[in-house]
Amino acid sequence: MSYCRQEGKDRIIFVTKEDHETPSNAELIPEDPDDPYEEQGLILPSGDINWNCPCLGGMASGPCGSQFKEAFSCFHYSKEEVKGSECIDNFRNMQECMQRYPELYPQEEEKESSSQAESNSGSVSATPTEGSALPPETDSTAGTSTSESTVSSDSTSPTDNQIAS
């Protein structure tokens, strides 16, 4: 059973696991996915890419930012059967640029980046996965995972749906 105590203005409640087993009846305001104030995930409600998403880890703002944006945009809007097949040149430009900054874009992450970028663009997944932590000093983790736990706070809508009763 829970145990309660008052110390001046502070109230202290001790609860057992059983006390908290019954679902909460606290009411939370339903989220508005189009709220312009909210932090957006990778894909905005309009369908555009949110280049400022923390999940991109600064890929869009580094020295190879413009190449990255071109490549990723091309892929995102691609309507081809093999998505992004017409974007090879853009990706090649991006790769060439990244090779000029090995300190910022470690080369072994390269292959991961491009394949992950493809798989991630389709979903605004907010579920924190056990993705690898941001490698030090690189911007290359955009591809590695958008579903990295960084997104959990930024796409608050999906998270909140989980807890709204």
């Binding site: 829970s2 105590r5 110390e7 001046g8 203005k9 502070d10 109230r11 202290i12 409640i13 001790f14 609860v15 057992t16 696991k17 908290h20 019954t22 679902p23 909460s24 009846n25 606290a26 009411e27 939370l28 305001i29 312009p36 104030y37 909210e38 932090e39 280049w51 400022n52 923390p54 999940c55 991109l56 880890g57 600064g58 869009a60 703002s61 580094g62 020295p63 930012g65 413009s66 944006k69 900054y101 300190e103 910022l104 924190p128 056990e130 932590a133 941001l134 490698p135 030090p136 000093e137 911007d139 990295e148 736990s149 960084t150 959990s152 706070s153 608050t156 998270t159 909140d160 807890i163």
Partner: protein, 606 residues
């Protein structure tokens, strides 16, 4: 003044020389009444005794030409000297001003900076985006601007010699590193073995300031060792401490602040000041690390986040080195202004178990230096003898530019007063520690935490590129005090507010260490914002056995209420639930039963 003297010194011999030439010419052309000297200087052609008309004319021409030549030579030499002099002065003043911090008594035992990024002599005269200050808020804004404005050119101006870095590890992870070269590398290993530097990006990320204007795709340039001393808002330009002017389209002020000092120490004199550290920057970390290895006793004055973290970090060291670590503060317990009293007392016990001698309810009356030791006299009569003091008594926001820029300074919280969109005036935004902003939910406030610097910096960057969004995503903060006590907090967490705490008994699984090991990320707060670094304290010694009694605050949630609405939440040893806490604060609803709200956090689960 110095300039004049030096220029005159250079001019003088030339002046003398040219005046000699003058006088000699005058004599020779017969303009004086005096006799023509028999001896003619070798430098000038002698055409023999004055005589004959035609010869005279030629002579006059020659003399005139020589005079002109001499004058031109003198002029060019002086100009060249001036230029060389100016360049030399520029070079000297561009060296990092480590001594400049001694102005309102910032006494630190600092080492000369070893590897500094040399300040460029050529600075762009105009930049579309100017960020004043090179800290966390500035970097976050730079990143935001670059993401939203393709090809943006961003210039960061900082008076520090370092590129932008994150501050939390300076009082946390860096102290627990096994690497003996950590003060040089400034890298730390997280729990999962992954290492990172405190610098947000290595030097190769930035472009040199002189290349900013011509950079095809833009970029971020950092001008180190330069202070902005004057701001002309009407003219949209600033002036640096070397009189260089830079004009801008949009400007961010992210000047942060300087550590406060105790008045008694400031008045105590040079000897005491030399043995006092005001902790904020990389150089402070380096010097404190060095000092703490060479002394017997150190005292930290201040019982807040920084003071407590440093006390715990140094207390940990005391196990190996025998260093006496004392922490003193006026409150009753550690974090007395943040945690409700019962929790503050509990935390103080934990701090003591880290090897710290805690002196609470201590008001410092005077500090003197006797026989190379410091004597701290407390108001209640107690005397504490120690070798070195670390003052962690708050931050003074840096609003030096307010006067010249005509910006409003907030009298309640300090800092530049800005609106909900972080804007001070038309093209000027303020973010980070120096910003007193309007929070739509919680009211006007000023926040001095790392995540706030990231969130507000990013928001300012968005608004500088046309977003017009108010401060809405609530920032959070965290602290670890030893391996057993870790908490994350959000909103207004002020111990003077009524609180409701809901606790469960903690098991061995509920520690910061366990949280990171489980989630596989080395950084506990990575779930919040990337580029924040925290990792629980590395424990080489086994954690002290927890005293199990009825009121053991192992883990739980504490709600801070203002007019029955939750305005702040602390997650006490429960992790990865910040989104829920954020949601509750955002809703701003009155909840009849906070125990029901606490259920949302699943505090019994991992």
């Amino acid at each position: 003044m110095l300039k004049c003297r030096t220029v005159w010194k250079k001019l003088a011999p030339l002046a003398r020389a040219s005046s000699n030439v003058c006088r000699q010419n005058v004599r020779r052309t017969g303009l004086t009444n005096g006799r023509i000297p028999a001896h003619v200087p070798a430098a000038h052609m002698s055409t023999g005794p004055a005589g004959g008309g035609r010869e005279n004319q030629l002579y006059i021409l020659l003399v005139g030409a020589t005079f002109l030549g001499g004058g031109v030579y003198a002029y060019r030499t002086v100009k060249g000297d001036q230029q060389r002099y100016q360049e030399r002065i520029d070079e000297i003043s561009s060296r990092p001003h480590r001594v400049a911090t001694q102005v309102p008594a910032a006494p630190i035992l600092s080492e000369p900076p070893v590897d500094i990024v040399p300040a460029s002599l050529k600075v762009p005269s105009h930049t579309p985006y100017l960020l004043i200050g090179g800290g966390t808020a500035s970097f976050a804004a730079a990143r935001s601007i670059r993401a939203r404005d393709p090809g943006a050119k961003v210039l960061i101006v900082t008076d520090e010699p370092d590129l932008p870095y994150m501050r939390p590890p300076l009082s946390k992870e860096l102290w627990f590193s096994d690497d003996p070269t950590v003060t040089e590398t400034l890298r730390f290993k997280q729990w999962n073995g992954k290492e990172r530097s405190i610098y947000f990006q290595p030097a190769s990320f930035y472009i040199p300031p002189e290349e900013l204007e011509s950079a095809e795709n833009g970029g971020v340039a950092v001008l180190t060792g330069r202070k902005v001393v004057h701001m002309d808002v009407r003219g949209n330009k600033v002036k640096l401490d070397n009189d260089t002017e830079i004009s801008y389209d949009k400007c961010l002020i992210a000047t942060g602040g300087m550590p406060r000092n105790l008045q008694v120490i400031e008045r105590a004199g040079e000897e005491v000041m030399e043995k006092t550290t005001l902790f904020r920057k990389i150089e402070d970390f380096k010097s404190l690390d060095k000092v703490s290895r060479n002394i017997n006793s150190i005292t930290i004055i201040g019982g807040g986040f920084l003071g407590s973290e440093l006390a715990c970090a140094l207390g940990r060291r005391s196990n190996e080195s025998g260093l006496e670590v004392i922490q003193m503060y006026p409150e009753k317990g550690n974090m007395g202004k943040v945690l409700p009293e019962y929790l503050s007392n509990w935390t103080t016990e934990k701090v003591k178990s880290e090897g710290v001698k805690v002196i609470s309810e201590a008001l410092v009356k005077s500090v003197t230096c006797k026989d190379d030791k410091l004597e701290i006299q407390l108001k209640d009569g107690r005397l504490v003898k120690t070798d070195h003091i670390v003052a962690a008594v708050g931050l003074e926001p840096n609003v030096d530019l307010a006067k010249s820029a005509g910006l409003e300074v907030d009298s309640d919280f300090g800092g530049f007063r800005v609106n909900a969109e972080l804007q001070a005036r038309s093209n000027i935004w303020v973010a980070g520690d120096a910003a007193c902003f309007y929070d739509i939910r919680l009211g006007r406030r000023r926040v001095e935490h790392h995540d706030h610097a990231v969130v507000s910096g990013r928001l300012a960057g968005e608004n500088m590129t046309g977003a017009n969004k108010p401060y809405w995503h609530q920032s959070m903060f965290w602290s670890d005090l030893g391996p057993d006590v870790g908490y994350e907090a959000i909103g207004i967490v002020d111990s003077s507010l009524p609180t409701v705490g809901v606790f469960a008994k903690a098991t061995a699984k509920d520690t910061p260490k366990a949280a990171t090991e489980k989630s596989g990320t080395g950084i506990r707060s990575e779930s919040e914002t990337e580029d924040t670094a925290t990792s629980p304290v590395a424990s080489s010694t086994p954690a002290p056995a927890m005293v199990q009694h009825k009121d053991d605050y192992g883990k739980g949630v504490i709600f801070y209420l203002r007019d029955k609405v939750v305005v702040g939440i602390i997650l006490w040893n429960v992790f990865n639930r910040m989104p829920i806490a954020r949601k509750i604060i955002k809703d701003g609803e009155e909840h009849a039963d906070l125990n029901e709200v606490a259920k949302l956090f699943n505090i019994h689960e991992d």
